[in-house]
Amino acid sequence: MSLDASDIIRLRAAIAVLSANRHDLMWASSQTVESVGEELMTEVLSTLEFAAVPGQSRLLRVTVRLPAWMQYMGQRAVLLFPRIARRILRATGLHHQMY
């Protein structure tokens, strides 16, 4: 059973919600309510409200002031705690980029 155009739109919107990707959420919010679905559109808009703007996080602004070696070690050290690392990535919008 292949996906049709409306399935693709709803899937893109659903991925945007789950991944909290601001760019994709903006795209989803620009679609019509009919194409995305009322409930899903509500989720898109509420997620967009809190989705991180890449590069605008206070945590990031602080860490870029650290010496390069400290950033390098810090990025690696935080991975010892995967759930915290994932939370930081989501909160900073970095989870859609390479480290």
Binding site: L3, I15, R61, P82, M98, Y99
Partner: protein, 470 residues
């Protein structure tokens, strides 16, 4: 071919992403296409493996450049441990490197750690600088960044019918690669400005948002009479990527800093000590698209002659007006296009079969007997690939996001029941529903089960893609 003869078992480890270029997909698929008498399987490094598949003993493991390019990621220590057991049990291991001028110590150390037998690299000079440990004990061969597909070339329109005179998309390369890396965009901009002033129709951009992906790129190239290029590369030796981190940090604080300012602050006196250059895949793409190439005058694989196969631009741009004059002579340029196509495409010298030869020649002895573990791996990977094929890439991506959601945030948007998944969020419910309609529920539950205790899955923020079947 003797049908009863066991096949060579070849495992290709890759890192395909939703955003991977077609060149990467072609590159990976070439092994299945050209490796006769081999059972070639593709394993994404993030793909979780059931326990009965982990004890495989392949005849050959090929590690692709898209995987190796994660070496600077903080996840690299987890990645290099993940499949080391398979590499240890394999008879031979081949690494296909690209961009090896960057974080090269990590690559060199990995080659030693995984006991790699052969390294393919597009860099043909200063290998001893990049691989100080491996250079002593490993075999090196040249592997290009792109090859030509052996399928019949596409039909293209004559130069006279193309709407754009000069077209190109070049990325402004990051400063941590050194001054040499900046040259490509600079050259394109200088020629574009001169061509515009001379009355040509120009569509050259260095902005990421103007780039084309997949088929669109080839269509764009085929709508241009001329394109501009040179070898790619870097001139800064940054063994562990610390200069990279320093530059990123500086740029975050001074987003408008010029290259000279960044150099003075982050790597004074260290640039241009070595030049690590490699042929760009654009050389072959342009020849296939029938687009006349304006290239910096240098050696191109020993097969391209200036004025016969390309229009040569001097490094100091001293012959800019001569090149622009030549661009007006479309009859002559049509001959140049035909010559380049003959040398690069029709000669067969740069087919993907050459890549496969370079990677495997002399390394495949007698095939080992097929083990139960290999059969399990084959059927698991084929099942996963089949799901992605049937579902389409978008639904496959969505299912993986759903797996992340289930494992990552069980108390917020999603709750799990003993059978697997009970979903609170509409987005999650929608994906689950689409997966169920297509009969993917058992696969989804299997992925949740396998990923839950997977150290890499718990840390990696990326989505993986299996290789398409063709």
């Amino acid at each position: 071919m003797d049908l009863n003869r066991p096949l060579h078992k070849v495992l290709v480890i890759h890192a395909l992403r939703p955003t991977s270029r077609q060149t990467t997909i072609d590159h990976l698929l070439s092994f299945r296409e050209h490796l006769v008498g081999a059972d070639v399987q593709y394993l994404h490094f993030q793909q979780p493996l059931p326990s009965d598949c982990r004890e495989v003993e392949p005849d050959l493991v090929i590690v692709n450049y898209d995987y190796l390019n994660y070496r600077f990621s903080p996840l690299w220590p987890y990645m290099r441990r993940r499949h080391k057991g398979i590499a240890d049990r394999a008879r031979k291991v081949v690494a296909i490197a690209q961009d090896d001028f960057w974080a090269c110590k990590l690559l060199d150390d990995w080659c030693m750690d995984w006991d790699v037998d052969r390294i393919l690299t597009p860099i043909d000079s200063h290998r001893e600088v990049l691989y100080p440990r491996s250079i002593e004990t490993k075999e090196f061969r040249t592997g290009l960044t792109g090859y030509v597909r052996s399928a019949p070339g596409p039909t293209t329109t004559p130069l006279t019918e193309r709407p754009i005179d000069l077209g190109q998309r070049v990325r402004d390369m990051p400063p941590h690669l050194g001054r040499l890396a900046q040259e490509k965009a600079l050259q394109a901009t200088i020629l574009a400005d001169a061509a515009r002033r001379a009355g040509f129709v120009v569509d050259v951009s260095t902005r990421v948002e103007d780039s084309f992906l997949g088929r669109d790129w080839f269509d764009f190239l085929a709508s241009c009479k001329f394109t501009v290029g040179m070898k790619g590369g870097a001139s800064l030796h940054d063994p562990v990527g610390l200069i990279h981190t320093r530059v990123q940090s500086h740029l975050s604080r001074h987003p408008d800093a010029t290259f000279d300012e960044i150099e003075a602050h982050c790597f004074p006196g260290r640039d241009m000590k070595n030049e690590f250059t490699a042929i760009s895949p654009r050389l072959f793409e342009s020849a296939s698209a029938g687009t006349c190439q304006v290239l910096r005058r240098e050696d191109y694989l020993g097969v391209l002659e200036p004025w016969r196969d390309y229009l040569p631009l001097e490094p100091d741009y001293s012959n800019l007006s001569q090149v622009l004059d030549a661009m007006r002579d479309l009859e002559r340029c049509t001959d140049i296009v035909a010559n380049a196509r003959r040398a690069l495409v029709e000669s067969g010298l740069f087919d993907y079969s050459r890549l496969v030869d370079a990677a495997t020649e002399g390394l495949l002895g007698a095939p080992s007997p097929t083990t139960e573990s290999w059969s399990h791996l084959t059927s698991y990977l084929e099942r996963s690939g089949g799901i992605a094929e049937e579902a389409g890439p978008r639904l496959h991506d969505a299912c993986l996001h759903l797996v992340t959601e289930i494992i990552d945030r069980p108390r917020s948007r999603v709750t799990t029941d003993p059978d697997g998944l009970e979903l609170d969020a509409q987005a999650a419910r929608l994906i689950r529903c689409m997966a169920d309609d297509r009969g993917f529920a058992p696969w989804l539950a299997e992925q949740v089960g396998l990923s839950r205790s997977d150290p890499l899955f718990l840390r990696a923020p990326w989505t993986w893609r299996p290789i398409p079947s063709s």
